[in-house]
């Protein structure tokens, strides 16, 4: 056997005279020449096949590639990251933006209520979310979906999000669904790299620069709350909302997950979320669950409240209620 001879040679020569490439050590035959030609052709084809991947080094800087998880960034790191992102936004979208990083207000725990007696399905909340959060204009994305449900049933199978008629219809009621910011979030358990987690004020956030886009969290979420960036978001420069939060409404990269974040760049400054301000029927109530005098606590104490899919044990911080 050729193999045994080689090993015997190596043994005797103590490693000297060892052929570098046994293939080339074979007598030059047509076979060898063909193999070399084949290898060259194969390498060329390999290079050509993978060439579209060159877009990665073009679009992803070394800093972005090496960027650590949000929780491991120092304040110095964050300043650099935000400056880099602002510069990239200016270059890619033609818009000057400021990226901030508001931290949870100590002692606050956010709760959101929807008055199902008042919601008439007009969808202005979806529109406000789209404008506030720099969503991809290609599909008019929004974190909210409004379900038109049949009266007398909570069965979502009879519900529809694609209604397009005057609202409210006599025999229907309306339920907007968005991220429930659960206290036992299945998405956080699912994420293999902790790219999503619940913060101290109850908001479940995503680090868009850490997410690898495996979409396990999207499979895990029972509320259809999470969205994936199937392509690069497109927003005209004049529609970009320049007040951006790192964990909230900055323009997301391609291939990462995103979701409703209770407009934390607003709510952590004490402002109402965009969907609440836009609601023309006053069906939305937002506030601090830890404040006994807050609007949301008034609702929880005085109204008939339910949560969606309670049996799954997700413990949402999003409540639905009726006028008494």
């Amino acid at each position: 056997m050729i193999a045994d001879n080689n090993t015997a040679d190596q043994q005797q020569n103590g490693g000297k005279g060892e052929p570098l490439l046994p293939i080339l050590d074979q007598p030059s035959t047509r076979r060898t020449a063909l193999k070399v030609a084949g290898a060259a052709l194969g390498l060329a084809a390999f290079g050509k096949a993978f060439s579209p991947l060159m877009v990665i080094p073009e679009n992803v800087s070394v800093d972005e590639f090496l960027q650590q998880h949000y929780k491991e960034l120092t304040d110095e790191d964050k300043k650099k990251v935000f400056a880099r992102l602002e510069a990239e936004t200016r270059e890619d979208y033609g818009a000057d933006v400021t990226i901030s990083d508001p931290r949870p207000i100590p002692g606050v725990r956010f709760g959101y209520g929807i008055n199902v007696s008042k919601c008439n399905g007009n969808g202005k909340c979806m529109e406000a979310c789209n404008k506030e959060n720099n969503h991809h204009r290609g599909v008019d994305q929004s974190y909210i979906r409004v379900l038109e449900m049949s009266k007398g049933s909570m069965d979502m199978e009879q519900g529809s999000t694609t209604y397009d008629h005057t609202v409210p219809q006599e025999d229907k009621f309306y339920m907007p669904v968005q991220c429930q910011q659960c206290d036992n979030p299945p998405c956080v358990s699912a994420c293999p790299i902790e790219a999503t987690w619940q913060e101290d004020d109850g908001i479940v956030v995503v680090d868009y620069n850490w997410c690898i886009g495996c979409r396990y969290c999207e499979a895990a979420c029972p509320y259809h709350a999470r969205r994936f960036n199937w392509e690069l978001p497109e927003i005209p420069a004049d529609e970009v909302n320049p007040e951006q939060g790192y964990l909230s409404n900055r323009i997301r990269p391609q291939g990462v997950m995103e979701k409703c974040h209770f407009c934390l760049h607003r709510t952590r400054e004490g402002r109402a979320p965009a969907c609440q301000e836009a609601c023309p029927t006053g069906a939305r109530v937002f506030g601090d669950l830890n404040d006994p005098d807050s609007d949301i606590n008034y609702v929880l104490k005085n109204k008939r409240v339910f949560v969606l899919k309670e049996e799954l044990g997700t413990k949402p911080n999003f409540f639905y209620f009726f006028d008494s």
């Binding site: 090993t7 069965d155 199978e157 299945p186 293999p192 690898i212 886009g213 495996c214 199937w230 990462v256």
Partner: protein
């Protein structure tokens, strides 16, 4: 031929070890040489596989550049052909254990000679699994986030982290076993059981774990009632122990046809006995699922209703699932025929039917209906886009390419042994 530089035993062992280390690059390059040697048929086969792999690679590269919009996945059906294929390939990998158990736990001598085929099928299958997951990532450039210590890993809570650990571990175990055995044969030495038998026993447990963990990925999600069943992990194992051995039987058949390396008839018979039992268990579990879903009815049967009968005017998966069930039933019937225990067309047909049936049932018939209806009960149908088909074909082509290379090496090594007339080449 080994020469001892001195009579001392320790020097001998040191020499052996040094020799082994120094010879390793030679071994690898020898392997490369063997892998590129063959007849015209071999070259055509390898060329085809390479071409398909590169088509798939290019399709994937375009997907990375343009975004996953080139697939037909949506926010409603967010996992598709890639994960379906992944699920099936994990089963294939786990199936190799059905050769290992008779060989090592029951000292089946005949099986011992061919168990390495099962192990290389496992290696190729695991590589296909890893590739299937890699192509499904939205940001493959951030792959390093999954690596412990340098990334940030949500272990032990996230089932995906367990999956990464067990799949890579299984790959390493099998690579070690196969690599060690091949290398020892190459060196002309008798393999030292201490170096591989513990790993073999480890691989038995590990094989069960890879498919159990993969099942746990799905069945732990409360928001997906179609998956949220305790029966999912046992069903996965049962179907894995059909598809894996069936695939191995087909591989051994092809090996016999192309290299003349004929395994004794016993191992295939053992595998078929295993398939008979596993398939029966699989069908019983399927019946149990169908009863529980359809007898109770209600919302948690919505996905099953869509899958088997269509729902609200959408019937996309109905032909798929009924084809799968037909394939599985006919395949099982064929396996139970006495002719299946002999070499012949009945056996081959049964294997092919069961593999196809299980691929559909586990892939399109499990992953996709988990998303339909969506969590807000919307029905959004899914069928893979051309890009997804290309990438999946590329993954399979690459897996089969790897398998071919390994089988070539094995055939070369073991055929040489058989020609020499003993398990060991004459030494010293």
């Amino acid at each position: 031929m080994q020469k001892m530089s001195s009579a001392a035993t320790t020097a001998e062992t040191t020499n052996d070890a040094l020799h082994a280390v120094r010879s390793y690059p030679g071994f690898l390059l020898w392997g490369l040489g063997q892998a590129t040697n063959g007849g015209l048929g071999f070259y055509v086969w390898m060329f085809m596989l390479t071409a398909i792999s590169l088509v798939g690679a290019n399709a994937w590269a375009n997907q990375v550049a343009d975004g996953m919009i080139v697939t037909n996945m949506t926010d409603h059906v967010s996992w598709g052909l890639y994960i379906a294929n992944f699920t099936f390939c994990v089963g294939l990998a786990a199936g190799g254990v059905m050769m290992v158990i008779p060989a090592y736990l029951y000292d089946d001598e005949e099986m011992h000679k061919v168990v390495i085929v099962g192990e290389v099928v496992a290696i190729a299958a695991i590589v296909m699994c890893t590739l299937s997951v890699l192509v499904d990532l939205g940001r493959p450039d951030r792959f390093w986030h999954l690596i412990p210590v340098i990334g940030r890993v949500n272990w032990p809570v996230s089932m995906l982290t367990w999956d990464v650990i067990v799949l890579n571990g299984y790959l390493l175990i099998n690579l070690h076993i196969v690599g060690y055995l091949l290398y020892m044969r190459y060196l002309g030495r008798k393999p030292n059981p201490a170096w591989y038998v513990p790993f073999v026993f480890l691989s038995i447990i590990w094989a069960i774990s890879i498919h159990t963990v993969t099942a746990f990925l799905y069945c732990g999600l409360g928001g997906r009632p179609f998956w949220n069943t305790a029966l999912l992990a046992p069903r996965f194992l049962a179907s894995a122990f059909v598809s894996g051995p069936a695939f191995i039987i087909l591989v051994m058949r092809i090996l016999r046809m192309t290299t003349g390396y004929a395994a004794p008839p016993g191992p295939a018979r053992t595998l078929i006995q295993i398939i008979r039992v596993a398939m029966s268990i699989n069908l019983i579990m399927l019946a149990s699922e169908l009863f529980t879903l359809f007898y109770t009815g209600g919302a948690h049967a919505a996905s099953a209703r869509y899958l088997f009968f269509g729902s609200h005017g959408h019937y996309g998966l109905v032909p798929w699932i009924w084809t799968a069930i037909a394939c599985n039933l006919v395949g099982t019937a064929l396996f139970f025929m006495p002719e299946a225990l002999e070499r012949g067309r009945v056996r081959i047909a049964a294997c092919v039917l069961c593999i196809v049936g299980i691929w559909i049932e586990k892939g399109m018939g499990l992953i996709i209906p988990g998303f339909i209806p969506s969590t807000l009960h919307e029905i959004v149908e899914y069928s893979p886009s051309l890009t997804e088909w290309k990438v999946t074909a590329g993954i399979w082509a690459f897996g089969i390419l790897l398998l071919t290379v390994f089988l070539k090496l094995i055939a070369t090594v073991f055929t040489a042994e058989m020609i020499a007339g003993s398990a060991l080449p004459a030494s010293d």
